[in-house]
């Protein structure tokens, strides 16, 4: 292992790419700029639409504007924000809300654990505790795809460009949605509040591993049942039940079969 001083060279084994492959970026600034450009297309548009939808949801349900805006800025996790909003509207207790939101956010543990080890060793220090706030579904999905073709020393810069753009549009999006919902006719507001459930649903069609597909399918069946029984705890109970069943089905039946994406 290199000493704590900056090593003058990069150990070739630290770069997962073959040495014959040219570097994709010239510098950190180049990688950062490319991250911003990659985010500025469909990912940012969809996220912006989701944030507009979230703002509209807050307004139409009479939730405080500051509350709506702050949750976008400080949570930056649409599924969790929608849980927070939905449970606040139906009057759940603060404790139940915090617990449910935290549980939907456990996906960040998995996302971080799969993404952050791909950064260069030099970049893996305490500052990651600040950078991790920029991590959300969008930046994660794009990074996981692009990192394979980016040399490790430029990955953090790329990720920061991507994440920073996504984060910085979330507040304007939310504020816009909040004010639009009060101005535009009700049918348009209806369209705005439908964006998020629609978006979550559509992303499920891109899920490849069978274990996760089974989990989603089971949750679609169990979810409504558990919700009717007890709305407050249904997210947790359905998640644990469907996820655990999917895990064992995958482990016992699917994993050993050839030709199946595991």
């Amino acid at each position: 292992m290199p000493s704590s001083k900056n090593p003058p060279y990069l150990d070739p084994s630290e770069i997962p790419l073959g040495s014959s492959v040219a570097q994709r970026f010239k510098s950190r600034a180049d990688a950062f700029g490319s991250g911003i450009r990659d985010a500025a297309g469909a990912p940012a548009m969809v996220l912006f639409a989701g944030m507009v939808g979230f703002g509209a949801m807050g307004r139409t349900n009479g939730i405080d504007g500051w509350f709506t805006a702050l949750s976008s800025l400080l949570m930056f996790a649409l599924p969790g924000q929608v849980v927070l909003m939905e449970m606040a509207i139906t009057g759940s207790s603060a404790l139940a809300i915090a617990l449910a939101v935290t549980l939907t956010s456990t996906r960040f543990v998995t996302m971080t654990v799969t993404l952050f080890p791909q950064f260069d060793d030099k970049d893996r220090n305490r500052s990651l505790y600040a950078h991790v706030h920029l991590l959300a579904m969008t930046a994660w999905a794009v990074s996981m795809k692009e990192f394979a073709t980016i040399e490790s020393k430029h990955r953090l810069s790329y990720f920061l460009g991507l994440g920073l753009l996504c984060w910085s549009i979330s507040l304007p999006g939310t504020v816009l949605g909040y004010f639009l919902a009060g101005l535009v006719p009700a049918p348009v507001t209806l369209g705005l509040v439908f964006i998020n459930p629609l978006f979550f649903m559509l992303t499920f069609t891109e899920v490849k591993p069978w274990i996760n597909r089974i989990a989603i399918g089971l949750a679609c069946i169990l979810g409504p049942l558990f919700t009717v029984m007890d709305r407050d705890t249904s997210l947790l109970t359905t998640g644990l039940a469907a996820g655990t069943v999917a895990y064992f089905v995958d482990r016992k039946l699917i994993r050993k079969r050839p030709g199946v994406i595991g």
């Binding site: 969809v46 639409a49 349900n61 509350f67 949750s71 400080l74 949570m75 924000q81 929608v82 927070l84 939905e86 449970m87 606040a88 509207i89 139906t90 207790s93 603060a94 404790l95 809300i97 915090a98 939101v101 935290t102 956010s105 456990t106 996906r107 543990v109 998995t110 971080t112 654990v113 799969t114 952050f116 893996r124 991590l135 209806l190 369209g191 509040v193 439908f194 459930p197 629609l198 979550f200 649903m201 559509l202 499920f204 069609t205 274990i211 996760n212 989990a215 989603i216 979810g223 409504p224 558990f226 249904s234 997210l235 947790l236 359905t238 998640g239 996820g243 655990t244 895990y247 995958d250």
Partner: protein
């Protein structure tokens, strides 16, 4: 309409708890990254649980919504979702933006013709 929503301090305590909980999950991820094999059994299980929770949330927002969406009949909501999935999977490259637009515009058109409030 009876207003049952959370008011006053409770609302802000819920927000603080939600923010802290969400950040804690991100920080735990940083802490564990590098120490835990991402292909380990616990992460396969955790990923499945996470997908199941987001799926539950989604199905709940579509089938058992609160607020404005509840004024749209259930079968309309389901029909629009089916049409959107159709647009989405009509191309192997996945048409996310066209599918989102389809759903949103269909619901706006429904609202324009049938919403009475």
């Amino acid at each position: 309409m009876i207003n049952t929503s959370l008011q006053g301090w409770g609302l802000w305590i819920a927000l603080a708890g939600a923010c802290l909980g969400t950040y804690a999950c991100r920080a735990i991820g940083v802490m564990l990254s590098g120490h835990i094999n991402q292909d380990s059994e616990i992460f396969r299980w955790l990923a499945a649980v996470t997908y199941a929770m987001v799926a539950t949330l989604t199905v709940r927002l579509i089938l058992l919504p609160v607020g404005l969406l509840a004024t749209v009949p259930l079968w309309i909501r389901i029909l629009i979702c089916v049409l959107c999935i159709g647009v989405m999977i009509s191309s192997p490259k996945r048409r996310l933006v066209p599918a989102l637009l389809t759903g949103t515009l269909l619901l706006v058109s429904y609202g324009t013709f049938f919403l009475t409030s």
